[in-house]
């Protein structure tokens, strides 16, 4: 069962659950646009947002400044723009290793140091980017406003951090401090002035020199640290409270969201310039994944799982649904053909002015010497030599989407076939809930530690590549049977699908995963290290993407899949599918496929 609102836990409120797919999609659109801006403005093609965190070449970027994490629910688009511009400038103008090596020890110190460095680079935006300047200012002011209005400035430390942020910002950008809090921070400024003045005075002058600037920043932080200790001392009778305050404060800055330990992180999906060592590292990680027992696993054809009567019945449902769709299949087929085709030698063009001499026309040359169209030339026609495999997550939560997904897949298969590609529809689930026989075996053998995957897999073939969609109609309908849906182990399913694809002769192979959640299997999850299945999926997807012989795409329903897959699309499936949904899928394939070839 997939946890659909994993990423949405911050929203908390019930009614927003219904909006989950919409918000995911929105988030993705915003991230796509902002990611592209960062890549362009920073000249860093390896940058991307993965699971909402900024990453470079699969590794966390190390950028954690609090105001660079806008939230869809409370912030406007310009805030996202400002955050993206901030990230771009930081990547371009700041040495992250130097920054990290100078990072102070205390929580508040780290927060301030990060903020100060970010404000430094933001102040360096060139004059020819007035829009960027405006975005940055807008974002910082929004953040300050939210910080203030959420009551954080009511605590001593919160006010201190806020005041220093305002002072730095004002000094670096020559903007006036925010009017609404001007009076609030004035006493703090007066109090700080004698201690921090000597550092503050140089801040703007040194803003082009990261190291020299850091000396000033750290000077101020040491003053702040003393003050924080003093506040703690004042409240020593209530020590717990102040610690709690501190934690809450740091939390509210979003620092906890981006644990710096991420430096090591899981090896993720790298760009095309991945090195051989990266690949070896991935393979090594993949080897760590173990399977307790695979004797109960099976690969089964859908026709063996669902009786003919039932398939017939589901078929009628599906037919009814497909009839009601507003999709132009021939057009879709044409678009697909354009994306998937590559020129192939296909016969000759005759009557050319040059090329190979065409013996049949030689007589014409004698009879009319001026006639020169006696040549023939090879003709290249676009042909698609391509296999598209759909791999469907058959976990319980997918039940709600299945009718739409089945319709989507069937229409795609028909269009793909018309475009000359082969298609395959696969599904993955488990044979029983909570581990089934394998889990019981493990229990009987005394529960050895770290057992690895602890369930029996069920891999279902709905349609194989050699069966035309028309003949597979009944088997495709089988996926509507609710009892097929149990739990899901994505990583192994991906390997299975990839292996099937590699055995085929098609030149181009495209694997599209349809899922609404992260891997989830109760027995395995409870008896293995945390994130065991998650990591495996990330590694498998990373490995396939790095290897590059299969193009891997993911369609997510209500969950951001960017944590796992490099090329993913959040989809909202309306009751009645429109051309727009397909257009989005096509665009994704067109955009990324073009370059990977």
């Amino acid at each position: 069962m997939a946890n659909t609102n994993l990423e949405l836990s911050t929203l908390g409120r019930e009614e927003e659950k219904d909006n989950a797919p919409r918000i995911e999609k929105l988030q993705q659109q915003v991230e796509e646009i902002c990611g592209a801006i960062v890549r362009a403005a920073a000249g860093e093609p390896q940058f991307r947002f993965r699971g909402r965190r900024p990453e470079i070449g699969g590794k966390p970027s190390g950028i954690r400044a609090p105001h660079l994490q806008p939230d869809l629910n409370s912030d406007d688009f310009r805030s996202f723009r400002g955050a993206a511009d901030g990230i771009a400038l930081r990547l371009k103008l700041s040495d992250i290793d130097l920054h990290r090596s100078l990072m102070p020890q205390t929580a508040v110190g780290q927060l301030l140091f990060e903020l100060m460095e970010q404000l430094r680079v933001e102040s360096l935006v060139p004059d020819c980017y007035p829009g960027m300047k405006g975005n940055l200012r807008h974002r910082f002011e929004q953040w300050c406003f939210q910080f203030h209005s959420s009551g954080l400035t009511e605590s001593h430390i919160g006010l201190l951090v806020y005041t220093i942020g305002q002072m730095f910002w004002s000094r670096l950008t020559l903007n006036h401090v925010m009017e609404i809090t001007e009076e609030l921070i004035e006493p703090q400024r007066m109090m700080l002035a004698p201690h921090t003045g000597k550092y503050m005075i140089n801040v703007r002058k040194l803003s082009h020199d990261q190291a020299a600037y850091a000396v000033q920043a750290l000077g101020i932080i040491s003053v702040v640290d003393e003050l924080v200790e003093a506040y703690k001392g004042d409240e020593s009778d209530d020590d717990d409270k102040s610690d709690e305050d501190m934690e809450e404060l740091v939390n509210s800055f979003g620092l906890i969201l981006y644990p710096d330990a991420g430096l090591e992180g899981t090896m993720g999906v790298n760009g095309p310039q991945v090195t051989a060592t990266d690949y070896r590292e991935l393979m090594k990680q993949l080897e760590k994944y173990t399977v307790y027992s695979s004797e109960n696993d099976r690969v089964i054809h859908a026709s063996k799982l669902v009786s003919e009567d039932q398939r017939q019945q589901h078929r009628e449902e599906l037919d009814l649904r497909i009839k009601g769709q507003g999709v132009n299949v021939p057009r879709l087929a044409r678009d697909l053909a354009a994306i998937l085709s590559a020129p192939e030698l296909d016969g000759w063009n005759f009557g050319e002015e040059s090329g190979h001499l065409d013996a049949k026309r030689l007589t014409r040359l004698v009879t009319s010497p001026e006639y020169r169209q006696i040549f023939r030339r090879e003709r290249y026609q676009p042909k698609s030599n391509c296999l598209v495999t759909f791999l469907m997550d058959n976990s319980g939560s997918m039940k709600t989407h299945i009718a739409s997904i089945a319709t989507l897949m069937e229409i795609m298969c028909r269009a793909l076939e018309q475009a000359g590609a082969s298609t395959e529809i696969l599904g993955f689930t488990t044979r029983a809930w909570q581990g089934g026989k394998t889990y019981k075996q493990w229990q009987r053998r005394g529960k050895p530690a770290n057992p690895g995957r602890l369930t029996e897999l069920e891999h279902i073939v709905y349609k194989d590549a050699d069966t035309p969609t028309k003949r597979a109609r009944l088997d495709i309908a089988a996926m509507l049977k609710p009892s097929l849906f149990r739990e899901g182990i994505d990583g192994e399913a991906l390997l299975w699908a990839a292996e099937r694809m590699s055995a085929r002769s098609e030149e181009r192979r495209i694997l599209i995963v349809l899922s609404d959640g992260c891997p989830m299997e109760t027995a395995t999850n409870q008896n293995n290290p945390e994130d065991y299945l998650d990591n495996h999926l990330q590694q498998v997807a990373g490995m396939l993407e790095t290897r590059g012989d299969i193009e891997l795409y993911a369609l997510g329903f209500g969950l951001d899949l960017s944590t796992y897959y490099r090329h993913n699309l959040a989809l909202e499936l309306p009751e009645r599918l429109e051309n727009g949904v397909f257009k989005e899928i096509l665009q994704m394939i067109a955009k990324h496929g073009r370059r990977s070839r």
Binding site: A36, L72, S74, G131, S354, R595
Partner: protein, 332 residues
């Protein structure tokens, strides 16, 4: 085609004086301008490295290929060097329709004294070979393979050229020079940007003695070019505007390199944008007419973002309009 009067370069000119490059090099040049010598564009900014490569081509008879993205002014660069040397110059665009016969020559029927007779009409290659001309093959990588093999012989320095139909061997003139420009380095259409380019036979690539790359100019130089071309941008306000325009162009180039968009703004586009601003006196409208309308529908919102960064102005293609309906923007 009229003939060239002066047959030999008769003066030496100083590279430092004419091209502003810090070197004591002197190169041979013609004292008289011929019809075939290109016009001098005084606003042209020479790239020192490429200029030296081209000059080596002229003075030492090297075969020089200039490679680079479109709109960087590759052909113009060679022409402008030739213009300053008064060296006659002929450009041929090797598009897919140039055939062997066009280059070499073919029999044609002409009327003479009221009678039809067949006569061999020389193609451009034999014509140029006999004269002190610089022959420039534009879009060298778009040439068809059969055409390329015609060129292969003359690529060699003392390569004699045989006209099979005429039983004639042509010895190239001692001041015949050969140049080419290409978008790719003979590797074909690997980015998807240059459809119609071909892989160049390695034996052909080998015969180019110098391959130089002309990339986009540094921002200051690009600003100077535009200001030189369009004097109305020659004040402080104009300079600021041009800098922002080049910033947009730069973002599209970086974004193209990252694979996010499939069209980029070449210096040529920036210049036509600037010219269109003079006509419409509105940077946004001129931007749409000179670049945005050439872009893929799906990429327009991205490009609108670049524009917003550099002009602080929202285009109607911008995603921000959509955002106002669906995001927190609308709630305020």
């Amino acid at each position: 085609m009229s003939d060239i009067k002066v047959q030999q370069p008769d003066i030496m000119i100083s590279v430092r004086d004419v091209f502003g490059i810090d070197t004591n090099l002197k190169v041979p040049a013609f004292s008289e301008r011929d019809d075939h010598v290109p016009e001098i564009d005084t606003a042209y900014q020479f790239n020192p490295e490429v200029t030296l490569a081209i000059l080596a081509g002229f003075s030492r008879d090297r075969r020089v290929m200039v490679q680079g993205l479109h709109g960087t002014g590759k052909s113009t660069h060679i022409e402008q060097v030739a213009a300053r040397l008064n060296w006659p110059c002929v450009r041929i665009n090797l598009d897919g329709h140039i055939s062997r016969l066009d280059l070499v020559g073919k029999d044609t029927i002409v009327l003479r004294d009221g009678k039809q007779i067949t006569e061999f009409q020389e193609g451009i290659v034999p014509w140029a070979l006999r004269r002190p001309t610089a022959l420039i093959f534009d879009e060298f990588d778009a040439g068809r393979p059969d055409v390329m093999f015609v060129i292969q012989r003359i690529l060699e320095r003392d390569g004699k050229f045989t006209l099979l139909d005429q039983n004639e061997v042509i010895h190239p003139h001692s001041h015949f020079r050969l140049f080419a420009t290409a978008n790719t380095v003979g590797l074909g259409n690997s980015t998807g940007l240059y459809h119609g380019t071909q892989m160049i036979n390695q034996a052909q690539m080998d015969r180019w003695n110098i391959v130089t790359t002309l990339n986009y100019l540094p921002t200051e130089d690009e600003v100077k070019i535009i200001q030189a071309r369009l004097p109305s941008f020659n004040d402080e306000k104009g300079k600021q505007l041009v800098q922002s325009m080049i910033a947009v162009a730069d973002l599209t180039r970086q974004s193209f390199a990252a694979g996010d968009i499939s069209t980029l703004m070449s210096p040529r586009t920036v210049i036509s944008w600037a010219e269109n601003i003079e006509i419409f006196s509105n940077p946004a409208i001129a931007f749409r007419l000179s670049f945005l309308n050439k872009c893929d529908e799906a990429e327009k919102p991205m490009i609108a973002e670049f524009f917003q960064r550099c002009f602080d102005q929202e285009l109607s293609e911008s995603w921000a309009h959509q955002a106002a309906e669906v995001m927190a923007d609308g709630q305020h």
